[in-house]
């Protein structure tokens, strides 16, 4: 049963957060200006000090509550989502799925341009009814007390949410990071219900457990991608192995130390975005801390990290053996500075690929980093499918 929901964090939780931040025992750092050993101590201190003394959660909470929020429970999984109706002659329903270490609030900049294009210089014919859920175990889709909820099961939850709870028989889907896997699974298993999928990470659905396509598939303009991919897997992926095997061991520290949580999330925001090493060129302090605060106040770090373990323990299994694997019409929008990119030639065989674009700027956190590129590409792709 769907119930309207407003975000209103207890004052005691916020006071406890500030108290903890002020008593942070910072790990000593040295010889780490390039963040090679991980999160830089000087910047972390600056950010934590701002979090404790200047950051205003209530301001961001009010902005969040400017959207229509709801909660429901599907198959024992609590689901929080934003549901904004489109303003146009015939809004198309669109479910947008975020990734890790994102929250639903990473979609904040694109929701209104998509629901109300006319107010943002667009055509009301392009309007969408936008649904932005929090992934199970993330943000306000908590507490998650059911094991085995991987991205495939999340896709089933989304089917029920869109069709049974919200009454959308057919709908569009969009996602990046883990959200791209959820979205691609919808396009694989539920192609009849999905008008089309739009993803900014295009991998095989079995990528987490089964590996990557061959390097020889990379074509013109993609020559440097194998090296970028290799760099990510070599230098930046230990968190993924850890969260895939022992998320709970890590959760003790990060659920107890807001500075520790912030350091863990911040490293990804900086490394994975197209920020040239200065994270604030892509995310303001408030952006970074609002995201960290959502993780903190919902105590969702542990369950968010567990999403990796569930993906690994419950490997993706195909629902059919038709080709392409993903039969729904597919748009892929990649960003050259993103961390992992697969070749177009490969994607053409795996997806029912209708549209392929590569943006020269922008990294992993697309809806926050390059909302306009995303919005324009979404409108253009779905215009053909309306």
């Amino acid at each position: 049963m769907i119930e309207p929901f407003q975000i209103n964090i207890d004052e005691a939780v916020l006071a406890d957060l500030k108290a903890r931040l002020r008593q942070t025992r910072f790990a000593p750092d040295f010889a780490n200006t390039g963040w090679d050993y991980g999160t830089n101590g000087t910047y972390l201190r600056e950010l934590v000090s701002y979090w404790a003394e200047a950051y205003d959660w209530r301001k961001h909470e009010a902005e969040m509550n400017g959207f229509a929020h709801f909660r429901t429970v599907i198959d024992d999984v609590p689901i929080h989502f934003i549901h904004e109706r489109g303003r146009g002659p015939k809004p198309m329903p669109l479910i947008m799925t975020h990734g890790w270490p994102w929250t639903f609030w990473d979609l904040q900049k694109v929701i209104r341009p998509l629901t109300d294009p006319a107010s943002f210089g667009g055509d009301p014919a392009d309007a969408f009814d936008v649904v932005v859920p929090s992934l199970p175990g993330f943000g306000f889709s908590t507490p998650l007390a059911v094991p085995g909820v991987n991205f495939s099961r999340t896709a089933e939850l989304w089917m029920k949410l869109m069709q049974q709870e919200l009454g959308y028989r057919r709908f569009a889907a969009q996602g990046g990071d883990f959200g791209a896997f959820v979205t691609a699974q919808l396009g694989h298993k539920h192609a009849d219900s999905v008008l089309g999928i739009h993803i900014h990470l295009a991998g095989p659905l079995g990528m987490i457990t089964g590996g990557m396509p061959d390097d020889s598939m990379f074509g013109p303009g993609e020559e440097h991608w194998p090296a970028q991919n290799a760099l990510f897997f070599d230098q930046e992926s230990a968190y993924s192995r850890l969260q895939s095997t022992k998320p709970q061991t890590l959760a003790y520290g990060l659920n107890d130390s807001p500075a520790g949580l912030c350091a863990w999330l911040l490293e990804k925001r900086r490394r994975w975005s197209d920020c040239g090493g200065d994270v604030e060129t892509r995310f303001s302090k408030d952006d970074l801390l609002t995201s960290a605060t959502i993780y903190w106040v919902t105590e969702s770090f542990g369950t968010s990290a567990r999403f990796y373990a569930e993906a690994r323990r419950n490997p993706w299994t195909p629902a059919h053996d038709r080709k392409p694997v993903v039969q729904a019409p597919t748009a892929v929008l990649l960003f050259d500075k993103d961390i992992v990119k697969l070749p177009r030639r490969w994607a053409e065989g795996y997806y029912n690929l209708q549209r392929w674009n590569v943006a020269p700027v922008g990294g992993h956190f697309v809806p926050m980093e390059e909302p306009e590129i995303l919005v324009n590409d979404l409108r253009a792709f779905y215009r053909e499918l309306r």
Partner: protein
């Protein structure tokens, strides 16, 4: 004779009351994560077990008692390259004590050696022969325990070996024995490799993870047992046994903030590791007492060394223990193979480089030999060094 003989000062461990009070305040306000009703330990450290053990730390563990136990041993700090090395130096009780440097690892510290020190320094009091007595030196690696933390990158096991060799020289020991497990095995190997003329014997209970025997040239192909060992190590890695290594060796600082700020975070990180590779069938207390575990964890907490300690993995990454075809370690080696290890290397794998003079299949015990099986390890160390001293 070097003019820069390091200054050596006696050291007594004393943690301020305020630090103990702060620890207790943090333990009181622990914000526990939730957990699935899945198999305990299946997603990492079990919530019920962590709650029970943290109750022990908060309510029963007596740091002052642990501190007095440590201070019952003679401790010093030696100034080497402008940094203090903390070490224990217990003189042997016997006719001719032989100097022996014990090298600890991670997630241990000098605390690993507390139980074995008296067995080695004063064998007569522990059912042994005073002729087997050692002058025991236990040095804390830079960035561990009460040694200074490094202030520049590059503190690899090889450089730690240089500092420890400098310490032994400063103590006036011209030749000596070295023993180690875990990172201590790497440090000990580097000491033996760089100063074979000083190291009379090398006793190991672990072969360094980065050790790769030479291949090519006239080196014989790997045996079936060696291939099986390599496969077992790879399987263990795939099952998360070495998950910590990946994060330690790439972004240790990121992890360190949470562990240095949250005692439960630190304890979970260390206990999960102890439980996984001790010979304990999932019951860590059957192998190591809670008192010893929390003495070790408290040393990490009070010294704020978890981050500097795990950064060692990143420093070491670019300096694996490899050998050219034909290259050998010339120092006599004794190896105690503990059955509870993730995988025990076949003798021929080790013998490709190490000059194995003694190879003992131990009856029980795992990765933390000096903590789990101090008596058995002490007996093997005595027997190995008897013909070499």
């Amino acid at each position: 004779m070097s003019l820069e003989k390091p200054s050596i000062q006696p050291f007594t461990l004393h943690i301020e009351d305020s630090a103990i009070a702060d620890l207790h305040a943090r333990l009181e306000r622990t914000r526990w994560p939730d957990e699935l009703d899945a198999e305990p330990w299946s997603y990492g450290a079990s919530l019920d077990e962590m709650r029970r053990m943290m109750d022990y730390w908060r309510l029963k563990f007596d740091w002052r008692a642990a501190e007095s136990g440590i201070n019952a041993l003679a401790q010093y700090k030696a100034r080497i390259e402008n940094q203090d090395i903390h070490f224990i130096h217990e003189r042997g009780q016997g006719p001719k004590p032989f100097p022996l440097l014990l090298c600890h690892g991670w997630p241990g510290s000098f605390v690993e050696m507390l139980d074995i020190i008296p067995l080695l320094a004063d064998p007569a009091r522990h059912g042994g022969d005073p002729a087997d007595a050692f002058d025991v030196i236990v040095a804390s690696m830079p960035g561990y325990g009460f040694s200074d933390r490094p202030v520049a990158p590059g503190m690899t096991p090889k450089r730690i070996a240089e500092r420890f060799a400098g310490l032994m020289a400063a103590l006036g020991y011209g030749d000596y024995g070295v023993q180690g497990g875990d990172w201590g095995a790497s440090v000990a190997t580097w000491i033996a490799r760089q100063w074979p003329e000083r190291v009379r014997g090398l006793h190991l209970n672990w072969i360094p993870g980065s050790y790769q025997p030479p291949q090519g040239g006239k080196e014989p192909p790997f045996s079936e047992a060696e291939l099986a060992f390599q496969a077992a190590m790879a399987t263990a890695a795939a099952h998360g046994v070495s998950t910590h290594v990946g994060i330690h060796a790439s972004r240790p600082q990121t992890l360190g903030y949470g562990l240095n700020d949250s005692p439960v975070g630190l304890a979970a990180w260390l206990i999960d590791k102890f439980r996984m590779i001790a010979d304990c069938d999932g019951d860590i207390e059957s192998a190591i007492s809670l008192d010893r575990l929390f003495t070790n964890i408290s040393v990490y907490w009070f010294s704020e060394t978890i981050t500097s300690a795990i950064r060692l993995y990143r420093e070491a990454r670019h300096q694996p223990i490899t050998f050219a075809p034909g290259e050998r370690l010339v120092v006599p080696v004794g190896f105690a193979a503990f059955p509870g290890e993730v995988a025990v290397p076949p003798r021929e794998w080790v013998s490709r480089v190490y000059d194995i003079r003694r190879w003992t299949e131990m009856k029980r015990g795992g990765h933390f030999a000096a903590m789990e099986q101090p008596q058995a390890l002490a007996e093997d160390i005595r027997a190995f060094f008897r013909p070499l001293r």
